[in-house]
Every structure is written in C-alpha cells, then in structure tokens.
C-alpha cells in the first residue's frame, strides 16, 4: 500500500521533472487520437450522405393527362401489393401542376405558356420507392404491364448513381489518407514516448543506480515510468476528446446543407458510441504505452 503510494508520487515527480517533454508527448498522442477521430467522423458523414442519396432514389411514373382516376388508384394499389415496394405516392394532376408552377416561378415564359392553355396539360404522377436499390429493375418492368402501359406518358428513374460513385471514391481516398495519418501519428507518438522515457531515465540515472544498490526491486524502479506514460495518455485522451467535441459542435451546422438541412447525426453518432470508441482508443493507447515504456525502462536499466 505504502509502496503503491510511493510509486504514484514518484510518477508525478518524474512527470514534473521533464514537464516539457511530457507536454510534447501529450501533444503528439493527442494528434494521433484526433486523427483517428477525424477519420471516424469523415466515415460517418460519408455513410450518412450515401444513405440520404439512396433514400432519394425513386421511379416517377407520369401518366397521360386523360388517364381515368380509376386507373390511377388501381395502379397505386397494384404497386402497393408488390413485395419489393417500400412506398407508393400518388400525386394528382393538380398538384403536379402546382409543383411545376412553383419550380418555374421565375420563368415568365413558361408561366405565360401555361396560362394560354385553359386545361391542365400535365398528368398525375406515381412515385415509387423500392425497399432495396436492387429492386428497381424489377419495378421498372412491373410498371410496364399492358394494363397501364397505354396510359403512361413517361417514367424516370433517377438512381443518383454518379453522385454516389463519386462520394464512395472520395470516401476511399479520405479513408486511405486518414489511415496513413493515423499510422504516422501513432508511430511518432510511440517514438516520442520511448524517447521521453529514455530522457526520464537518463535524468534519474543516479537515483536508479542508488535504488538498485540499496535493493529496490526492478518493478519498483520501472513502475513510476510506466505510470508516467499512463498519465500522459490520460491527459492526451482528455484533451483530444474535448477538442474533438468542440470541433463536432462547430462542424455539424456546417455539414447541414449536405443533408438538405436535416440533422447530419454526427454528434449523435459519437454520443451513442462514446463508450465504445473512447474505450477502444484509450485501451489501445494505454496498452501500447505500457508495453513501450516497460520495454524502454527494461532496456535502459540493463547496465
């Protein structure tokens, strides 16, 4: 018990005696953690963007203006019965016209042309969303059934494929660069830690020599150095976590436009997974630091 306390105080004395080195080590560790977190954050955002885009994929079937109401409701019912269909939305002709007007609000020519015709030139639309992106091919076929074919004016299928491919590409690049950054910072972190411990041992070489002479166990000599590494890790973790928290609060509003103003959910993601992510990061860092400092002290304790 008293020994534990002595090791504890000794670790803080070590820390204070080479404070600048400790601060530098903390900084590098912090950078390593931040790069891991930024990488994670980018991943989350990318995934969310892809999900949002996937959600936008649909088939819009435009019917001829003279299509009877009955056919429309029947078509809607028919689509609803299909297993592959997630939602079916019937937009009556009037509403289609209203939407069209709204879209061309500023285009006087179009509006003028519209008002010249006294009846609604546009037909009703049915918007179909599939449960899975793979189902769209089937749905396109299904709609082509002879029953409705004659009434269908056009059908559009916007799969946002180009956009999604682009995002996936960028995502891959970011992930690669991020992983590289993480590896570099982790490596530098461990090297700095190793070096910090070397210097700490050098500073304490007289003390260590005397400790050995008067019969200190090697555990007693090693433990404060290892513990100092633990304090450094904890500081780095706390600082990285707070900095990252601030960065998230700042970034979320900035990201909103990407999601048509919806909540990007990135803060929520990190809050939900705080224990897991924090635990893993802290655990991995502590494990590495303890192993590295144990080895470093061992190497320099050999005479």
């Amino acid at each position: 018990m008293i020994t534990a306390w002595r090791i504890f105080t000794a670790s803080w004395k070590h820390f204070a005696r080479n404070a600048w080195l400790a601060v530098a080590t903390i900084f590098v560790f912090m950078m390593a953690l931040l790069s891991v977190n930024v990488l994670l954050g980018v991943n989350v955002v990318m995934d969310r963007v892809v999900t949002v885009l996937e959600d936008k994929v649909d088939i819009t079937v435009t019917f001829k203006p003279e299509t009877p109401e009955q056919v429309l409701t029947q078509a809607r019912f028919y689509l609803t019965t299909l297993d592959q269909v997630r939602t079916v939305q019937l937009i009556p002709a009037d509403e289609v016209l209203a939407q069209f007007r709204k879209r061309h609000e500023r285009d006087n020519k179009v509006l003028a042309a519209l008002s010249e015709i006294d009846r609604n030139p546009l037909g009703a639309q049915i918007v179909v969303k599939a449960k899975s992106p793979d189902d769209y091919n089937f749905l396109l076929q299904a709609i082509q059934s002879p029953q409705y074919q004659t009434y269908i004016q056009s059908q559009t299928y916007d799969d946002h494929k180009a956009a999604m491919t682009k995002i996936r590409e960028v995502g891959e690049q970011v992930r690669f660069a991020g992983a590289l950054l993480v590896a570099i910072f982790a490596l530098f972190g461990l090297l700095t830690a190793f070096n910090a411990i070397r210097v700490a041992i050098y500073t304490h070489r007289e003390e260590i020599a005397i400790m050995r002479l008067v019969g200190a166990s090697s555990f007693y000599i090693r433990a404060p150095f290892v513990l100092e590494g633990v304090w450094i890790s904890l500081f780095a973790f706390a600082m990285a976590a707070s900095l990252y928290g601030v960065a998230l609060v700042w970034a979320e509003p900035v990201l909103r436009p990407l999601f048509d103003g919806a909540d990007p959910g990135i803060i929520a993601f990190f809050l939900d997974h705080a224990l897991l992510i924090g635990g893993l990061e802290l655990g991995a860092m502590l494990f590495l630091v303890v192993v590295v400092s144990w080895v470093a002290v061992g190497r320099y304790l050999r005479r």
Partner: protein
C-alpha cells in the same frame, strides 16, 4: 559469512579481473582488502553484491549460494549488505534525512518505521542534528558518514566499503575508520577495500592482499604488504 571457492573473473577479450580466488570470512570479522590499482579489489567487491557474475567458481554469502543468483533475488541480497561505493554518492536534491530514508522506502518500509530507524542511524554517525541539510551544505567527511548511515538502515549483517576514505583528509579518514570499527563492534562483518597503507597498518586486523587478480597474502594481523 563470506565463502569464495576458486573464483575467477575474466573480462573480454582476455583481461583478468580475478584469478582463482578462494577465501573465507567469518561473521563479525573486519577484513581489509588491499592491492595496487587494477589488482581486482573492486571486481571482488562487485561480485559480493552480484553486480558482476564470476566466470568460474562459487560464491556463498551467509549460506546462500549467489553464484547464479536470479535477477529478482538480487534486491533481497542487497538489503542484507550495507554498501559504500564511491560511485554511489548522495542525491543532491534530497536532504540528509531523505537520502537515508530513500533506502528504506524502496524496500517498502512504513512511514513509522522510517521515522524510527533514520534518526537511529543518523545518531550512530553523529549527524542527527544535521538531518535537514542538503549534501552541498556538508563537508566531504560528513557526506561520507551519511552514506554509511544509508548503508546501515537495513541493519545489514555485512558492510562492504570500497575506498570509503578515497578523497578525505587524515582527520576525516580517522572519523570514518572509527565509525567502521564501531559498527564492527556491534557484530557486523566489515569488508574494507582500500589503498591507504596507514589506516590498514593502524587497524592491525586481517589483511588480504591482491595482485593481478590473485591473493598474494592473507594475514590475520596484517600489514599492507607492498609487493614489487
């Protein structure tokens, strides 16, 4: 207490530290080990605290064969031997009290034990009034007495002193010698390594003379033998 059987120590490539040294020291003895520079005195001392391993032979201390002692057993050994080596001075940023209590702390002694023992050993070396001083505020002789106090905290059965009077004047040297004799009078075995002819001659105790790593004389009431 100390039992060496045909102990040799060779350093690479072919330097002889010690060669076929056998000797026995009984508990409570006061033995001086003398010899010219490079004779192997420090090598012998280092082997007694397992700081060096013999190349050949066996070393037995108080019935414990330390020839092939394990790393984790060494602290146990060192707590039974009070060591006074020139390379291991006091820590400059600790007070006298702290320098002495340091040796107890590393062995896991409780605070109350430290408060009990440290003043005792400081009293033995007559420095109980200077416990709060720092080494730089003390004379060389006083500093060396603190080192002796530090060596005494584990109540060792044996004191091993390598040149304890190395850079002290005659008066301080006499103080240190008186102290070692006093410790020996309590029943502690003392092994003294030295160059100093006068002090050995004045002691009239057992003297072992080394030359080129070999024992060339071992006299019960010896004098410092000068061999060519």
């Amino acid at each position: 207490m100390i039992h060496l059987e045909h102990v040799s120590k060779h350093y690479p490539p072919n330097i002889v530290g010690l060669h076929d040294v056998s000797l026995k020291v009984e508990p409570g003895e006061f033995v001086s080990i003398v010899g010219q520079s490079g004779a192997g005195k420090t090598t012998l001392a280092k082997m007694l605290i397992a700081d060096e391993r013999p190349s050949q032979g066996r070393i037995i201390l108080g019935g414990w064969d330390i020839t092939n002692i394990r790393g984790w057993e060494i602290p146990q050994l060192r707590r039974q031997i009070g060591v006074i080596f020139q390379d291991y001075k006091l820590l400059p940023n600790k007070t006298v009290f702290e320098n002495v209590s340091f040796a107890l702390e590393v062995a896991g002694a409780s605070r109350s034990r430290i408060r009990e023992i440290v003043p005792q050993v400081l009293k033995i070396v007559s420095l109980d009034s200077k416990a709060e001083r720092f080494p730089r505020q003390m004379s060389g002789g006083e500093q060396q007495r603190v080192v002796i106090a530090r060596a005494l905290v584990h109540r060792p059965k044996m004191i091993l002193a390598d040149e304890p009077t190395g850079n002290l004047d005659t008066l301080n040297t006499q103080d240190i010698m008186d102290l070692l004799l006093k410790i020996n009078a309590f029943g502690t075995t003392v092994v003294l390594v030295t160059h100093n002819r006068e002090i050995v001659n004045a002691l009239r105790r057992r003297v072992i003379t080394l030359k080129d790593g070999r024992i060339v004389s071992d006299q019960a009431h010896g004098k410092y033998v000068l061999t060519g």
